[in-house]
């Protein structure tokens, strides 16, 4: 970060000013003149919060994707299917037991087990054959999508959050000032905030696990040079299986999250596969902080875009990806070196 500042003082200043303006726009009550050209503050705040919470969901999906890619250099294009499977399993569990929390555990375990099977049966046999792995995962995603369509049909499923999480909560953010001088505060669904919090906690835990534990050390060493790591006597296949299971399990958890604040239906798999692709391309392959940054940027771009220029929202997301590719093909945050 300091190196970036030293190299590009002008751009750092521009970015700092933009971020400062953004933070001011979130916290300060808007002067009357501003609402004339920027619309109501409530809409803006809602877009920002929706964007950040959507970013939290994207982070859940993309962090597993980027972890698997970073370590094993294979692109698991069935990741979206794992996400959707997690959502369906979460729905079934939440529906039969009535325990919302339990659905996360179930989705994590079942999808993680599927990940282990995938790693053993598929990826282990074609290590280093990039194209073959990609094609096989495409095939798997076609098959999985059709099996899920077979079992659950084409309906929309929504996982209901428990009672204590439903309803809005008032946030200490002023959206407007009434003529009487009374301040109006933002109301926001509590479940989304809890999920945002959970994403932050998971992100920090993952960062700690990667940087402060022995397993994390092995994973990081594997990302840098897996041949050298296996030459030092580490059983790298075990690390692979572990990471694959964890990444797949995260996708399953993301499915439950997505099923709670959006819905699960056929087609969501490609949508979230693409979202995680874009997030990972923008943030930087194989980097957890990169996935977090990319997820927030893409989530914000999608939501703010869909509020202020609805027709071109997708193009905005795409434009960000193109700009990143043009100026920093390796992504905003590169892992390691």
């Amino acid at each position: 970060m300091r190196r970036f500042f030293d190299r590009h003082p002008f751009w750092s200043l521009v970015i700092a000013l933009l971020v400062a303006f953004f933070i001011w726009a979130i916290f300060a009550p808007w002067p009357p003149g501003m609402e004339a050209w920027a619309g109501r503050k409530k809409i803006f705040l809602n877009a920002v919060f929706n964007g950040i919470t959507l970013g939290a969901l994207y982070f859940f999906v993309a962090s597993g994707f980027t972890l698997i890619f970073g370590l094993m250099k294979n692109v698991n294009l069935a990741h979206g299917s794992l996400y959707m499977l997690g959502g369906y399993i979460g729905y079934e569990v939440a529906n039969t037991t009535g325990w919302w929390i339990l659905s996360f555990v179930a989705a994590f375990i079942v999808v993680g087990l599927l990940g282990i099977i995938l790693q053993y049966v598929v990826f282990r046999r074609m290590e280093g054959e990039d194209l073959k792995q990609t094609l096989v995962t495409i095939g798997i995603s076609i098959v999985l999508a059709d099996i899920m369509l077979w079992i659950w049909g084409g309906e929309f499923y929504q996982i209901l959050a428990p009672g204590w999480l439903s309803g809005p909560v008032e946030l200490p953010l002023v959206t407007a000032v009434k003529s009487s001088g009374e301040l109006v505060y933002l109301k926001y669904p509590i479940v989304r905030l809890v999920i945002l919090l959970a994403a932050i906690v998971v992100g920090i835990l993952m960062w700690l696990a990667l940087n402060r534990t022995r397993i994390g050390m092995l994973v990081r060493a594997g990302v840098d040079d897996r041949d050298m790591l296996s030459a030092t006597g580490v059983r790298i296949q075990r690390v692979f299986v572990l990471v694959f299971a964890f990444g797949a399990g995260l996708a399953g958890v993301a499915g439950v999250v997505g099923g709670t604040f959006q819905s699960i239906a056929p087609g969501e798999d490609t949508r979230f596969l693409l979202a995680s692709l874009v997030v990972v391309i923008v943030g930087g392959m194989g980097s957890i902080p990169g996935a977090a940054l990319g997820a927030v940027i893409i989530g914000l771009a999608e939501q703010i875009g869909s509020v202020y220029f609805p027709t071109y929202a997708v193009v905005l997301t795409f434009l960000i990806m193109v700009l990143v590719l043009a100026f920093r093909p390796q992504g905003l945050i590169t892992s390691g070196r």
Binding site: V143, D146, L274, T311
Partner: protein, 361 residues
């Protein structure tokens, strides 16, 4: 074995008469048989077979051929080819005539088609310029992202692309008094362009440009050291492939009579990859074989599935499992399987092509 693929035929050197392009005696008999069969097919095949099976297979084959050119000769697996075809189709509908006369400009065909092709080529070239900044697996991801972005864009944009419903009644013009949408005429039209694209790819593959491209595929660093502009060659390959995909796209919109975002979404884009891979990406005939298999499966899988007691919607399961099996067993698709079978049956040495009965040579 394949048309002009025999390397021992080509280097005609001293003592023999030089090879001339009009000399057709080198073409193997299989090609004459297949060609004659395709030409006389309308005599005995039904309109449905001509139009919905062979017409569609030629078109899908052309779009997959453009992918095969990039993947097989350039080493770049691009998922954007169907989107390029979709751009050409949309432009045909926008500049030409369709039922949505508020958007369609209604220009005549000799203006519409070149414009559509030029725009498709520009789109494909720009996508390629973005994609070649990365290598291998990243190319797949970026082209997939471009394809998806264009799909969502056309679905949301109503002023230019008419959103979800797209354009219908996009019909081919009546040139020389022929109704080009009648099955026989369309069959020959699609056959002509598919054959032209096939020959063009064969020619380019052994022209200096194609050879340089294959060199870049095998060792970009060495080619750069030899003075070849690696990036420019790759982008040019995208431009060339876009032209073929664009022609396929225009034929496709005429075949279906309509174009909508659903036709260019991620699923069909992956279908094109499946077609190319199942057919085989080592030779330009592969995509057409793959397309024919795909179309036949898509048309008749329903009946087959129902007859064995499964629901007809499980078509994708069949395709997916078939694709998995082929990818697992042969990285070269049906062509590779066939080649391997021939080698096993004839007990030929894979290096020299001679029978290996006399022991190791």
């Amino acid at each position: 074995m394949a048309l002009g693929e025999n390397t021992d035929r080509y280097p005609v050197r001293s003592g023999e008469r030089p090879f001339e392009w009009w000399d057709l005696s080198n073409i193997p008999a299989q090609y004459w048989i297949v060609g004659a069969f395709l030409i006389i097919l309308p005599l005995f095949a039904s309109d449905f077979v001509l139009f919905q099976i062979f017409g569609w297979a030629f078109i899908l084959g052309m779009i997959a051929l453009s992918l095969m050119f990039l993947a097989g000769y350039g080493g770049m697996v691009s998922l954007v080819q169907l989107t390029v075809a979709g751009v050409a189709a949309y432009m045909t509908a926008i500049f030409g005539s369709s039922a949505v006369d508020t958007i369609s400009l209604g220009w005549s065909w000799w203006l519409t088609i070149p414009i559509a092709l030029v725009i498709a080529v520009i789109f494909g070239t720009i996508s390629g310029a973005l994609a070649v900044r990365t290598e291998g697996i990243y190319t797949i991801m970026i082209t997939l992202a471009i394809a998806a972005a264009f799909f969502y864009f056309t679905r949301q944009n109503y002023t230019l692309f008419n959103g979800f419903s797209g354009f219908n009644q996009v019909l081919p013009p009546e040139i020389f008094g022929v109704n080009w949408r009648s099955p026989v005429a369309f069959y020959y039209l699609a056959l002509f362009w598919a054959f032209a694209a096939y020959l063009l790819v064969l020619y380019v593959a052994r022209a200096p440009f194609g050879l340089a491209l294959q060199g870049i595929r095998d060792n970009p660093r060495r080619m750069a050291a030899l003075g070849f502009n690696v990036t420019a060659h790759r982008i040019a390959a995208y431009a060339f492939a876009s032209l073929i995909a664009g022609i396929g796209g225009i034929l496709n919109v005429w075949l279906n009579g309509q174009i909508s975002p659903g036709a260019i979404s991620v699923g069909p884009a992956i279908d094109i990859l499946v077609i190319a891979v199942v057919g085989g990406i080592a030779h330009p005939i592969g995509p057409f074989i793959g397309a024919l298999i795909f179309v036949i499966l898509r048309t008749f899988a329903l009946d087959v599935l129902v007859s064995v007691g499964l629901a007809g919607e499980r078509f994708n399961l069949l395709i997916g499992i078939g694709f998995l099996v082929i990818v697992f067993w042969s990285s070269d698709g049906v062509l590779g399987l066939w080649k391997r079978w021939r080698e096993n049956a004839g007990k030929r040495d894979p290096l020299t092509g001679r029978p290996t009965d006399g022991g190791a040579g």
